[in-house]
């Protein structure tokens, strides 16, 4: 890991624990999680459901404060919602009263410095949104309302929304879990292309190991609650990775070995 060429650390979780009280019972969501992610890395976190994977993303986004430990971004402690973060969730959660384009533009209306110049730069911003929609294969759908788009298309819009303000960190919470297998794998390639182009730091939470191995530079496995990171696998496969590669022995070996680890966790 810490080779001399290692990129500067972007996201740093230091001995983070999180406990909260839910319906009268204390939930121990995370236990002593340390994770340090270099700039431009693509890290996948996999684990059994309910193990606190999403919690990690919320901590990084500043939506939750840790009970113990520290969360740093670029060396600065996270104390509230971050501006240089883009998020996409399992459901697309588009605003139904906005068209696809207007949904993509939403972050620019909220995040500085775009917010201040949104009116004057509107043309340029729309141009940017159109080109992003083009990248994910949504040409000609910009003016459609969400309910006229299929689930896969909505998720593409949601990805565009997460990227439009060119965030330094992209947080993905099982973004393809609700899609059919074909659409899902198609979007893996879309996401890989976007990441290759932008080189933002990505944390992907998933329970699909093939997805994790296909996309990530590094895959972490989490234990059952209270969640800990118990295993780390560097994915040393050439890029760009093509969907056919998922049938190659190297790929299958990675998936298989990680699958074995998960089996130990669940037992």
């Amino acid at each position: 890991m810490n080779k001399p060429t290692a990129p500067p650390v972007c996201v740093d979780l230091q001995h983070v624990s999180l406990r909260y009280v839910s319906s009268g019972r204390e939930v121990h969501a995370l236990e002593d999680v340390s994770l340090s992610i270099g700039q431009g890395e693509f890290v996948a976190v996999a684990g059994p459901s309910g193990c606190g994977k999403t919690t990690i993303l919320k901590l990084v986004a500043g939506l939750l404060p840790p009970t113990q430990g520290r969360v740093l971004i670029d060396g600065h402690p996270v104390s509230g919602p971050q501006k240089n973060v883009g998020m996409a969730f399992q459901n697309p959660i588009l605003l139904p009263w906005r068209t696809a384009l207007q949904n993509v533009l939403l972050p620019l209306e909220v995040v500085q410095p775009h917010r201040g110049q949104f009116r004057s730069q509107r043309r340029a911003y729309e141009e940017r949104a159109h080109s992003l929609l083009h990248t994910v294969g949504l040409d000609g759908f910009a003016d459609k309302p969400p309910y006229e788009l299929s689930g896969g298309m909505q998720q593409r819009v949601s990805l565009c929304r997460a990227l439009i303000h060119e965030p330094e960190i992209l947080l993905l919470d099982e973004p393809f879990a609700a899609l059919d297998a074909f659409t899902r794998e198609e979007l893996w390639s879309v996401l890989q292309a976007l990441w290759t182009e932008r080189r933002c730091t990505v944390i992907l939470v998933t329970h699909d190991l093939r997805e994790a191995v296909f996309l990530a530079t590094r895959v972490h496995i989490m234990s059952k609650r209270p969640g800990r990171l118990i295993h780390e696998t560097l994915i040393d496969l050439p890029r760009p990775r093509a969907l056919e590669d998922t049938f190659k022995p190297e790929f299958v070996d990675y998936v298989h070995s990680i699958y074995g680890r998960i089996g130990q966790v669940r037992a």
Partner: protein, 257 residues
Amino acid sequence: MNDALSKRFRTLLPPLITIVLFLLIWEVGCLVLGIDEFVLPRPTATLAAYQKWQSAIWPNAWQTLFTTLVGFGLAILLGVGLGMLIGYSALLYSALYPLLIGFNSVPKAALVPVFVIWFGIGTMPAILIAFLIAFFPIAVNVATGVATVEPEMRDVLRSLGASGFDLFRKVGFPRAMPYFFASLKVAITLSFVGSVIAELGASNRGIGNMMVIASSRFEVPLVFAGLMVVAVMGIVLYAIFALLERRMVAWAYRGGT
């Protein structure tokens, strides 16, 4: 073009047929059963009374429309304001809701004499009753719209560092609009009920007042003409708000005609 016209015609046809049928049964029923005009005047007799008294009816109708719309406008202003507040703050909601329900449970007709003591006979009691009766559904609906914003939607904005006001502007407000417009359709007809109730006892103008005078003179067809005028005004205003709703919150209807 022609298609659009015939489509509009087809949507208007069923309600027109129902109304005509209703009037027809009423007319024929009265004739066949030999019901006296002092008990239930036929639609034709009502129409005749309307034509005869037109010049007396319209000033009263405008007065009723005026008090209704002023009361309704106040109900919108305060209903939206309060609805937003109790929708956003769980504390304000629990603090104010019982009191609101208490106020809403008081029969509005019972408040007319109170308003007469406070404001005297005239326009004011009618406006206030129209306001009170329309206020509650608007406030409750807006509060529901604001309070049921999906937490995920909130997270989308919060993860961008949005302020509370951003959240309101970008999500809470547009999210509440379908609820708001739905409540307007209920509230406008209730407003009419309110102002006519107030005029029955506490005004010397308006359709309600005209009906009281007409019934004391046994001009029953004129009483019914007054009722008809109120009903027609109610339908027209309802239609206006229904159209407005379709235009403003088309997204909530998902393109289903």
